[in-house]
């Protein structure tokens, strides 16, 4: 894993009377242990990768509590795991990145929520929405609606988040439905504190096992004919039970204010931002006391009709603040009021944007619009609106002040990344045979869609690249190339892509990036990793798997060998042989490798063993500042600097200190016939007598010949 949580794990041991300090996602983990879970699992992805990483690092504590941890191969397998709570009084939680993970899990979720659960089942959703998000922008809300799962959207402060986890399990058990806890990116990473409680052991767990299954009960299956009855159960029993629980336990919060004829209904997750907006307008204080009454929906679904009616009844107008499209809550509020024949006007989308993140200034604009529309007594709505529009106008004003737009800075392949050379090779291959259709996938390799590569014609989801090229190949002169990471391969690509292609006697080229980890999500292990969290190699191998499935044309190429990779790609594109052609691009994730190698080198240095350090460089007197090398390599450590030559104005290429000596720039300069300015420099620490003698002889002779003999540094 990229980040170690050994220190943070200590916080998971806290008990009654102690205070927990830390990140939101860690607080959730602690809350799970306080709730007495018997099993946890999930699939990694920002912003909930840390939850799984922490659990992996906390295996000791988990063992003490008898909690089973499963690092699932995808979200569907994680969702299916919740099936343990259908028949048994087991509390369990799984986590993934939403919306994408929920999509993958959807089949199991439907089949879980139809029979319902007796043990509390919770799904922690990392809602990857808004600034910093990396997936398509959709709401997870739809899944809650269609499958009758409850959706918690807690206020983003740690005590509330922790309480909602604990209450969420009770809610799940009281209503026999799975519960989803939705956390936005910033809420996952928000820091704070809460009063810890002792961890609880599950009623049934690895320490106190069941003796066998219950008597056969057909009603626990998602299978006809009981599915018809289950559908009715959802609306006739589970929904009312959930609403009653929410009301009895006041999971939603109402903040009273003196402007009683208007109000705001806000999703819990947006409440702090709404309160800050009101505070900036002078309508709230910093402690959350507001002049405008607020109804805070820590439970976004289901709504409690009585709560809504009570809050709205005495008001002329309310503003519904919910992020994203469609406006499910606004619609539901309208329906409730209509049914109760309450004439309160409902504002929402329109004053606030239909789509996109509700940032500070967006909310400020929406709140000002609401005040202007409703004109509460004693509030100068126009002045507030003017102030808000001044704030929103600031961006445009500064843009005008500087004139030209700033260059963007998307994430990119790390220095020394083994995947980047593959795209250098594709660039070289395309120079010869022309542009090719490239179906991209999810993973670090998707950074190739950015400069300097700009590769990728479609992205259809994790592990979907090969499948998404199925109908392209037969309709195009040149074979399409599908790029897939080893993470995506095991997550989905093996079945969805490879099996389907072979089954249909497809053609095409598949490049599998074998770097040994799911790197983009934070270097987690996966089935073909060299080792695992237990230290035992998982033993699954991509090449063997593909051979046994019947792939005939397969080449394994070290990714840094750019010329060889370009040649192999060309072969795959031009080969007369029909059928799937797989190139396994082999190279360990450099982030992981560096961490290991640096530690090993430090030990060797300490022990006095011979260690060579390699780095690459560019001769600035030879570089002419064309930057072809950068366009082909894209390495973060290969950058530009002002030309030291007073006669040249274009900046020259330069390799900076962070170079890890992967050798790509040399390979690229060679394969592409760029320029002779690259060099590799090596220094030997703890040199042997032979190293020293040879070096001394060489220096002496070169000195005689008029060259540099090290006199300046000796």
């Amino acid at each position: 894993m990229e980040r170690s949580f050994k220190k943070e794990v200590e916080a998971l041991k806290l008990g009654n009377g102690e205070t927990f300090h830390g990140e939101g996602i860690l607080a959730v983990t602690k809350a799970l242990l306080q709730s007495g879970v018997s099993y946890v699992g999930g699939y990694q992805g920002a912003p909930v990768s840390h939850l799984l990483d922490v659990l992996v690092d906390a295996e000791g504590i988990m063992a003490e509590l008898g909690v089973h941890l499963e690092t699932c191969s995808n979200e569907a397998s994680a969702a299916a795991m919740l099936g343990a709570s259908i028949n048994y009084p087991l509390r369990g939680a799984v986590t993934w990145k939403s919306i994408v993970g929920t999509n993958v899990a959807a089949d199991a979720l439907s089949n879980l929520s139809s029979p319902g659960v007796i043990g509390g089942a919770m799904i922690i959703l990392g809602e990857d929405y808004g600034e910093g998000a990396s997936v398509i922008q959709e709401r997870s809300y739809a899944f809650a609606l269609k499958s009758s799962m409850w959706l918690l959207d807690p206020r983003p402060d740690l005590p509330t988040i922790v309480r909602m986890v604990e209450k969420g399990f009770e809610l799940s058990e009281a209503s026999h439905a799975p519960v989803m806890l939705d956390l936005r990116i910033r809420a996952c990473h928000v820091t704070g504190q809460f009063d810890a409680k002792d961890n609880r052991k599950g009623q049934v767990s690895g320490l106190n096992r069941l003796h066998g299954p219950p008597r056969f009960n057909y009603a626990r299956l998602a299978h006809p004919p009981v599915i018809y009855a289950q559908e009715k159960l959802k609306v006739e029993q589970r929904l009312p039970a959930a609403r009653a629980f929410i009301r009895e336990n006041t999971l939603n919060q109402t903040i009273d204010g003196d402007l009683t004829d208007i109000g705001i209904i806000a999703m819990g997750g947006l409440t702090n931002s709404v309160l800050r907006g009101l505070e900036r307008m002078g309508l709230a204080d910093v402690f959350g006391a507001s002049r405008v009454p607020l109804h805070v929906l820590n439970v976004a679904y289901p709504l409690v009709p009585e709560d809504i009616r009570e809050f709205c009844a005495s008001k002329r107008a309310v503003l519904v603040v919910e992020e994203g499209h469609p406006d499910y809550v606004e619609q539901a509020v309208n329906v409730e009021l209509r049914r109760a024949d309450i004439q309160t006007k409902v504002y929402g989308k329109g004053l606030l944007p239909q789509g996109g993140e509700y940032t500070s200034e967006v909310l400020l604009g929406g709140l000002a619009g609401f005040l202007q529309a409703t004109r509460p007594n004693g509030v100068d709505a126009d002045a507030l609106a003017e102030k808000a529009s001044g704030i929103v106008a600031r961006k445009a004003a500064t843009a005008q002040a500087i004139g030209t737009a700033l260059p963007v800075r998307p994430p990119t392949f790390c220095t020394g990344c083994p995947e980047r050379p593959v795209f250098s090779a594709i660039k070289l291959m395309q120079r010869e045979i022309g542009p090719t259709h490239i179906s991209a996938d999810i993973g670090c390799h998707a950074f190739a869609t950015f400069q300097p590569f700009s590769f990728g014609n479609s992205i259809l989801g994790y592990g979907m690249s090969l499948a998404s090229a199925a109908a392209v190949g037969p309709n195009m002169d040149r074979r399409p190339i599908a790029i897939m990471g080893d993470g995506g391969f095991w997550h989905n690509g093996l079945i969805t892509g490879v099996a389907s292609n072979l089954f249909n006697k497809g053609d095409g080229v598949l490049v599998v990036m074998q770097n040994g980890y799911t790197s983009a999500t934070g270097l987690q292990y996966m089935p073909s990793s060299k080792t695992s969290r237990s230290g035992v190699p998982p033993g699954m191998d991509i090449e063997q798997t593909l051979r046994s499935m019947g792939v005939k044309w397969m080449r394994k190429v070290r990714t840094y060998s750019v010329a060889k990779m370009a040649m192999t790609l060309k072969d795959a594109m031009k080969s007369a042989e029909r059928g799937l052609k797989v190139i396994i691009a082999d190279g360990e994730c450099q982030l992981a490798r560096q961490r290991r190698v640096r530690a090993e080198d430090a030990v060797k240095l300490e022990r006095g063993e011979r260690v060579t350090r390699t780095r690459y460089g560019v001769d600035d007197a030879i570089c002419t500042g064309d930057h072809s090398c950068i366009r082909l390599s894209g390495c973060p450590s290969l950058t530009v600097k002002p030309s030291p030559d007073p006669l040249r104005t274009d900046p020259v290429a330069s390799v900076v200190e962070s170079c890890v000596g992967c050798g790509l720039c040399g390979e690229v300069a060679h394969a592409a016939v760029l320029c002779p300015s690259f060099y590799r420099a090596e220094i030997v620490r703890n040199a042997t007598w032979w190293d020293r003698a040879l070096f001394r002889i060489r220096q002496t002779v070169i000195g005689w010949l008029g060259g540099y003999n090290g006199a300046a540094t000796a």
């Binding site: 002419t624 592409a672 016939v673 002779p676 060099y679 540094t713």
Partner: protein
């Protein structure tokens, strides 16, 4: 309603710079000081050197004095609501301004002047760097005050990560109600990392406290190569004015490149340009640019030049000292060369080279057949190989490439002189086009071809009076920029078509 508001802090950083750790330090220092504090971030995949931000709110009243009340702290930064912006990089500091977060009424900016160039800036075929001065001007204008210095340099000088220097700068700026001791405690930890962090912190602190605005490191000019003083003197006296230092630099370059006679040729070639400059009233600007480009063109990159540079003692000393930080350990330097047929023919006399090149072209070897080699320049045999190549300098003037280059240079100079009769600005634009011709192999071929297109489509028609001078000046300038936009020549073709360039056949 309470008058105290949270102090808001927006940190802009690049993934992998330790922005998360910095945020953690500030949070624990604030907690140690007893203040309610909250931080959020949106790391995601931005950790892979993408731009990212961290946001902190500190409520500057001790939690114990609030009678159990807890302030509601926001998760997103608000425009017009930011007290301190901290940025590890100048462009990212600028980005916070453009996103509206820096306002003159309250925002203090603490930012590094260092640049970590974006991919778009790096991949440009010429100079794609964003204008630093524009950024610093914007930051100063839009902020309440700005503390700007090169944090990356200070970090590397102190063997620390930039985040420690940033923390020091925050402490030194005195904008947060947190003492230096509390910050130091937050950094905590022993070991090598802890020590490095403390060093970085102290360095950042000292710089911030001194409010000294260290200017950016001035590019070190290369030391003058040994040359004939008389020639330099001649250059100095013949070309007074703004062109003088460039002309002297040109002479200094060309003597070791080829010979004193060659440098004299340079001065001789500049004479008509100097006259043209005077007559067209360019006040030295034309002469200066031509002198600069002419020196570069006359010292074109061939095998001899590369060999000379590869074994120059200054180069080896620089690599050993600055890059490897050699302290007596053995080291080696390996160079990558991959000459093709054209490179091999460069030094052969034209009457031999031409038939070979013609044959190679017919056989399709050009751009296909190369001789890759990796030479250990620190070994005796490797050194000797380069030495022999460097010594071939003597036969260079008899070679194919020399003849080709000189002809191209003469033609270019003639165009400039001719154009100056119409307008010095036009002449200057033509001179600047030399910028396109650079590099090796494909790059060089592409540059020559782009230049050729501009010459045929714009320069010659303008000189011949078939295109209005003003329009030609603009068109040449934009064509030159377009030629440097993409390597495929799409922009240039479009630009030439748009500016009504005369078809190449003309």
């Amino acid at each position: 309603m309470s008058a105290t508001r949270p102090i808001t802090l927006l940190i802009a950083a690049l993934g992998g710079e330790g922005g998360g750790v910095l945020t953690g330090w500030i949070v624990s220092a604030a907690e140690a000081a007893g203040f309610p504090v909250q931080s959020t971030s949106i790391p995601g995949v931005a950790q892979r050197t993408g731009a990212t931000t961290y946001y902190i709110e500190i409520f500057p009243e001790p939690a114990t004095a609030l009678n159990g009340k807890r302030p509601v702290l926001a998760l997103t930064p608000g425009i017009g609501d930011i007290d301190v912006v901290v940025a590890s990089e100048l462009l990212e500091a600028g980005r916070t301004v453009l996103n509206g977060f820096v306002t003159p009424d309250r925002t203090h900016v603490i930012a590094s002047l260092s640049r970590f160039f974006t991919m778009d800036e790096k991949t440009a075929m010429g100079d794609g760097r964003y204008d630093d001065d524009k950024l610093t001007k914007l930051i100063r204008e839009q902020s309440r005050d700005a503390l700007l210095f090169d944090m990356t340099r200070i970090a590397s000088e102190n063997g620390a990560m930039v985040n420690a220097v940033m923390l020091g700068a925050i402490a030194g700026s005195d904008r947060l109600p947190i003492s230096i001791e509390q910050f130091l405690t937050a950094i905590g930890g022993g070991g090598k990392a802890g020590e490095a962090n403390r060093r970085g912190f102290q360095a950042g602190l000292a710089t911030a406290q001194a409010q000294a605005e260290a200017g950016k490191a001035v590019a070190v000019k290369k030391s003058a190569a040994p040359t004939l003083a008389s020639l330099e003197q001649q250059a100095a006296s013949a070309y007074p004015g703004i062109a003088q230092p460039i002309v002297i630099e040109g002479v200094r370059r060309l003597v070791p490149y080829q010979s004193v006679a060659y440098a004299q040729l340079y001065l001789y070639r500049l004479k008509p340009i100097a006259d043209a400059d005077r007559e067209s009233g360019a006040q030295g600007a034309l002469l200066k640019e031509v002198a600069r480009h002419l020196a570069v063109r006359m010292s074109y990159e061939d095998v001899v030049r590369v060999a000379q540079e590869k074994i120059s003692p200054e180069r080896m000393a620089r690599i050993a000292r600055d890059e490897l930080r050699v302290k007596g350990e053995p080291y080696s330097v390996h160079d990558f060369l991959k000459p093709g047929i054209e490179e091999l023919c460069q030094l052969l006399p034209p009457f031999i080279a031409r038939p070979i090149l013609n044959l190679a072209e017919r056989k399709g070897w050009l751009g296909r057949l190369y001789f890759g080699m990796e030479i250990n320049s620190t070994s005796v045999s490797g050194y000797l190989r380069f030495l022999v190549l460097a010594k071939l300098r003597a036969i260079r003037p008899y070679g194919y490439r020399y003849a080709q280059e000189q002809a191209q240079i003469e033609s270019w100079l003639a165009l400039i002189a001719e154009a100056s009769k119409r307008s010095s600005a036009l002449a200057l634009e033509i001179a600047e086009c030399a910028r396109l011709i650079k590099g090796y192999g494909d790059t060089h071929t592409r540059g020559l071809s782009n230049y050729g297109k501009i010459e045929a489509g714009l320069i010659r028609p303008a000189i011949a009076g078939r295109m209005p001078v003003d329009r030609a000046i603009d068109a040449i300038a934009s064509a030159r920029t377009a030629a440097l936009v993409d390597p495929d020549g799409e922009s240039l073709a479009k630009c030439l078509a748009d500016s009504g360039a005369v078809a190449e056949a003309a």
